[in-house]
């Protein structure tokens, strides 16, 4: 992992569409280039958040899985 996480949001227990909504709302208060870590245990979000990133232009840095918690790293685009 060669990036620094600027903010983490915990979306565990939340289902569609909350992880992408909460990510959007969190990114509003972040600067371009900053990295957000989204924690989720929703398998649908693993599929949906990369699609969300592609559609919004934000960069997907990586996805990690740790004890059932999926960690998604995104970099805010302009």
């Amino acid at each position: 992992m060669n990036y620094k996480v600027d903010k983490t949001i915990d979306c565990t227990g939340l289902s569609c569409p909350l992880p992408s909504v909460k990510t959007t709302l969190a990114l509003e208060h972040m600067a371009v280039g900053q990295v957000i870590e989204v924690l989720t245990d929703d398998p649908v979000s693993r599929r949906d958040l990369p699609v969300w990133a592609q559609s919004t232009g934000n960069e997907l840095l990586g996805i990690e899985e740790d004890n059932g918690v999926i960690k998604i790293y995104l970099r805010k685009a302009a």
């Binding site: 227990g13 569609c16 992408s20 909504v21 990510t23 959007t24 709302l25 559609s55 919004t56």
Partner: protein, 164 residues
């Protein structure tokens, strides 16, 4: 419309129904689309107006028919029936409990979330006139009251249009 919004697409939803389940489906789509950067407009018409009504004020309208309709059709975001298995209010209560167990937001939470994501709410002028409702009867998140022509002028520019 900027070039960017064009690329990301836009959604218009006509919410004709006044049931909680259909309203939640509307707001799930609306908030998801808004999170994707899409421009989202919801046009509330007829029974759907109940979703954006303020709480309280049972008697509304100018004549006895409107007053009777508004008393029988009383409802707001916290008080809506569901389209199946309503069972005199047991259904919605159970659904709300089941939803909160699964951390699904309530309809009011969805409304404020959609509003902060920039989703625009428009009440329909014609149904308001028929039912004798005023702009003040609706929550403050609403934009101005518009008619079918204004709705269509927005809808014809959008990529996705739904009638719920």
């Amino acid at each position: 419309m900027t070039e960017q919004t064009k690329n990301k697409g836009s959604v218009t939803i006509v919410l004709f129904s006044g049931e909680m389940d259909k309203a939640i489906a509307t707001f799930v789509i609306a908030t998801a689309a808004a999170s994707m950067g899409m421009k989202v407009t919801i046009f509330f018409t007829f029974w759907g107006l109940n979703v954006i009504k303020k709480e309280g004020g049972l008697i509304k309208g100018q004549n006895w028919m409107q007053k009777m309709l508004n008393i029988m059709n009383y409802g707001h975001a916290k008080k809506l029936a569901i389209s199946k298995m309503n069972m005199f209010g047991i259904g919605p209560a159970m659904l709300k409990t089941m939803m909160s167990h699964k951390k699904v937001p309530s309809l009011q939470e969805f409304i404020s979330m959609a509003h902060s994501l920039g989703v625009k709410f428009y009440p329909c002028e014609m149904s308001m006139t028929v039912m004798g409702l005023k702009k003040e009867d609706f929550i403050d998140e609403c934009e101005e009251v518009i008619g079918a022509v204004s709705y269509l002028s927005i809808a014809k520019e959008t990529t996705i249009n739904l009638f719920i």
